[in-house]
Symmetry: C2
Subunit: 211 residues, 2 copies
Amino acid sequence: MPPRRRPASRAEGPARDTRSRILAAARDLAVEKGFDEFTVEKVAEQAGVSRMTVYYQFGSKQELLEALFDQLAERGGMDRLAEEMKREDPLDSLAGLVAVFCGFWASDRVALRRLRSWGGLRPAAAAADADAIERDAWRRRALETVARRIAQRYGKPARRDVKNAVDLLQVLTSFESYDVLARGGRDESDIAELLSQAALTILGVTEARGH
Amino acid sequence: MPPRRRPASRAEGPARDTRSRILAAARDLAVEKGFDEFTVEKVAEQAGVSRMTVYYQFGSKQELLEALFDQLAERGGMDRLAEEMKREDPLDSLAGLVAVFCGFWASDRVALRRLRSWGGLRPAAAAADADAIERDAWRRRALETVARRIAQRYGKPARRDVKNAVDLLQVLTSFESYDVLARGGRDESDIAELLSQAALTILGVTEARGH
DNA sequence: TATTGTTTATACAGACTGTATAGTTCCCAG
DNA sequence: CTGGGAACTATACAGTCTGTATAAACAATA
C-alpha cells in the first residue's frame, strides 16, 4: 500500500494558500537559481513553511515540479486563444495566435526554460517524446485549423503542402524558437512581428492587406 | 590548494583508452536512461572501471558531462561545413549547411537533447545565456555569411532584411527545431529537404534552379 | 467537545557526490 | 634489473539531498 497520499482536496480548503505560496516560492527559486539549489528544503524556507509541508502537499519533488509546470501552462490563456480563432479573416487569427504564443512564452521565459529542460532529462526516451508531443498538441491543433482556413480562402498553401507548412509553423511558434530569438536581444513584440511575417511567407500569403 | 587535479596529459598516453571508454559509457547511459540513473557509479560500471577512475580522469561529474558534450560537438564535422561554404553558388552552400546541421543533430539526437537540457538547468540565467549563445555561434556565423552572399548575388533578401532572415534561419536550423520535426515522425533527409525549402522561401529566393 | 484536516519537529534510511589515503599494477628510463 | 612515476583501485568518510515514519501541536468545524 502506498504509505500516505496527498490531501484529498487540493483545489480548495485552507491548504490552498499554502500550496500557492509553495508554488510561488518554487517558481522564484527556479528562476533565480539553477536547479542545483532547487531543493525541497530551500523551497520550503522561501515559502515560510516546513519541509514536511511541501511533502504533505505535493508528495514528492517531481510532483511539485509538475504542479509548477501545470500552473505556468494554465496561466497562459487558452481563452485568448479561443478568441483569436473566432476572427473572420484567418490571417488575423494567425497573427493573433502568434501574439498569444509569444505572450505566453514571454510571461515566464526563464522558468519555462528550466522546466522544459527538466522535462527533457527525466524519463526514458519514449515517455519524454510522448510528454513533449502532448504538451504541444494544443498549439499544433490551433495552427492546423488556421492553416486549413487560410488554404481554403486564399488557395495557398496547396493542399498537399499544408502539413509541411503546419510543421514549420509549429517550429517557429515553439518556445525554443522564441527563446533563441529572445536571447538575440529581441523583445516580445519584435519577435511576434518577425514570426507573423515569417508565417505568412511560409504559407505563401505575402500580399499586404488592409485591416 | 586544490587537492589533486586531473592528469597532466589528457589527450595522450595510455589513459586515452580509459577516457574514451568512460565517455562512451556515459553517452550510452545518457541515451538509454534518464539523468536520474546517470550516476558516476553506473558510468564507471558500464565502462568496466572503478568509480575512482572516473574522478581521477575527469575530476567531477560536471566535467565529465562537459567532456561528453565537447566530444559530441566535435564529431559533427566542422570540416564538412567549411567544404560546403566553398561552393560557387551560395544557394548550394545553404542547402549544404542545412544538410550538415541535420546530420549533426541526427547523429546523436537523444544524447544531444539530454545534454542540452542539462545545460539549461545548471547555471544562473546570465551564464546560461552566454553558454547557449557561444555554443551556437559557429552556426550563426556560417548562416550569416551565406545569407550575405545570397543577398549580393540574387538581390534578395533586401539589405535591411538580412538580419531578420538570419535570425529565422538560425531558429530553423537549431537542434530544437530538428527535434520537434523528428518527433513528428520525419526522418533526417525529409527534415533537411523541408528546412532547405523553407530557408529559400524565407530568403525570398524561390525560383527553381538547375543544379 | 470530538473529529478531521493541516502543519510541524524529529529521526532515520538510502543514495549520491566528492575527498582522502593508501595500496596495486604496469611501463619505462637509468 | 631496478627505481620511480603514472594509472588504476579499494576503502572509508563527510556532507547533502530525497523520501518515509511517527508523533505531536494546532485550527476549524460539526
